[in-house]
Symmetry: C2
Subunit: 336 residues, 2 copies
């Protein structure tokens, strides 16, 4: 047993032998709240360091039925906000002991294949950070394979088998609408993203309803179909180019910053107009780019850190009922 190949990674047995204790004492020495005497813990640690030992998480997961792995399913890599979310999620999850499986579902028809993979890896939870997962696909996927937990992050989900962690879109958009009214804009257009999922409609519906409630007149809207700035650019161009001046909006309320940034570019470079003097623009997310002097984007900042903390609570098994009630704040810059 003591003839280990050089470089071959040591097992708990090797450490135990070297330290003169049993394998289980070694295991305990590496567990946080286990009962080991300080003396043998030190012996173990010394031997472990000598052998370059670290517990095998695979074997541990198999034996304990807890993988400390979380799958992040992402289907949209053109929205820069995803990078912000990925950074926060990976960093904070890691701090709490979870590793992260990044699953690109861009080329899948629906989420089921990705969820299958995740379940085959025995993840403790799968987190959807996507835009296009539709409720029907989710239901199918969920039926196919058992996942311990299915969370939807930064988007509302109507599926009762999922736990949704997002800010209160209704309140947020009401606030934005009020801001637009207060600033005296008369002719808004709401630019919406993908509308496949009922959840996506909240921001749009809220704005339209609030606007009509306050002014008595319906607000115009248009569906971009994706959260890609380039797509938003083309869409805005098609939507506005060639319009009479009196038909042009005085403010574009966008479902998020990715759309807003594309729209601003189109306003300037296709229409030759100024932001905000001719057309103002409001976004949602507060991506890093939003503070670029180019855009000076007025937008809405979700409390991402708090939301991730909520997610971690759920992973830990704590009951939380307030997961769709997070409130952010309007960030007023120069674009509206």
């Amino acid at each position: 047993m003591s003839t280990k190949q050089i470089g071959a990674s040591a097992t708990a047995d090797d450490v135990a032998e070297l330290a003169g204790v049993s394998r289980w004492t070694v295991t305990r020495a590496f567990k946080k709240d286990a009962s080991v005497s300080e003396k043998s813990r030190l012996k173990v640690m010394k031997a472990a360091e000598q052998l370059g030992y670290a517990p095998d998480l695979l074997a541990s997961s198999l034996a304990s039925d807890r993988s400390n792995l979380v799958a992040l399913l992402v289907d949209d890599f053109s929205n820069p906000h995803k990078l912000v979310m990925l950074e926060k999620l990976t960093r904070l999850l890691r701090k709490e002991g979870w590793d992260t499986l990044l699953v690109n579902t861009l080329s899948e028809d629906d989420a089921s294949v990705a969820l299958m993979t995740a379940s085959q890896r025995r993840v403790d939870a799968a987190v959807l950070i996507g835009s296009r997962f539709d409720d029907k696909g989710l239901a199918t996927a969920l039926g196919a394979r058992r996942l311990r937990k299915l969370l939807v992050f930064a988007r509302y989900s109507a599926n009762p088998n999922t736990i949704s962690i997002c800010c209160d879109d209704h309140a947020a958009m009401s606030e934005i609408c009020q801001y637009v009214l207060d600033k005296g804009y008369k002719h808004p257009i709401f630019l919406a993203g993908p509308q496949t999922v009922s959840a996506h409609v909240i921001r749009k519906e809220t704005f339209l309803k609030n606007w009509e409630g306050a002014t008595g007149r319906p607000a115009e809207f248009s569906d971009v179909g994706s959260y890609d700035p380039n797509a938003a650019y083309l869409h805005t161009k098609d939507l506005l180019l060639g319009r009479e001046e009196r038909d042009l909006p005085d403010v574009l309320v966008c479902e998020n910053d990715a759309i807003a940034i594309g729209a601003i570019d189109a306003i300037r470079f296709e229409l030759g107009l100024r932001v905000p003097q001719d057309i103002a623009v409001i976004g949602f997310d507060d991506v890093p780019q939003a503070q670029s002097p180019n855009y000076q984007l007025t937008t809405y900042r979700q409390p991402l850190d708090i939301m991730v903390a909520g997610l971690i609570d759920v992973l830990k098994g704590e009951d939380r009922q307030d997961l769709a009630q997070f409130h952010g704040e309007i960030v007023v810059r120069n674009s509206a």
Copy 2:
């Protein structure tokens, strides 16, 4: 054995029993190149579907010592190019059967802790997609724990224990330098990123050397210290604001697009000058934003797809000697 709880995921044994074959036949039916008769394969598949069975990748990894897992270590989430790379890597790796562990090393002192995690999960390889991993830290980390393969993606690495997959920075920057000369610029400044790692110096050194070789005069340079557009903005402002007109550069050659974009904003909004008429700007990477009409960034596009294919070859165990020889192309837009 046949009394499985509803919802509990089935094992190969359960499927075997239902299909009337042995467990190993079940296993083989799920393996690509295994020898199973079509008849029993169908029996197995039918039973598997009925039970909702899929092989447990954890147990499989443990038994076979192959995890089909790759760890991606990232320490820089402000550069939008990372999102492009993550998308390509995750999608193409998945297509070839690898899942991806995303490890955020932003808060680590060096890469060792992250590499440790990766090795504890028995990844088949760890891929560094970072900017700040220094060679010394790598060496330490490598000594501490055995990793099957350590790859460095999109950056040259001098460490002999790593495999670096990147484009030929020397050739690329020579091409850019030639372009700058051809366009008749007289006073370039090279804006460099983090200079902690010897590998990062290649682009800078190449430009400076080529410039001096061609003109007989040294070129100015300045170190931004990170690949964050906002940092580049501030740095460019500090560097150029208040200079006499004759001391201003006529072109900024940037180590990558993240820096270039920050620089363009600073030129416009801090110095009140025009790009490219007053100061031209060249980037590197061709991030999605580079084609925004705001930036129209002249830049260099690395052949990412081919590079990822090279990475996959290495993962498959194929020998490739040309991994630092990929050639991209200059993308000429309006900024220079």
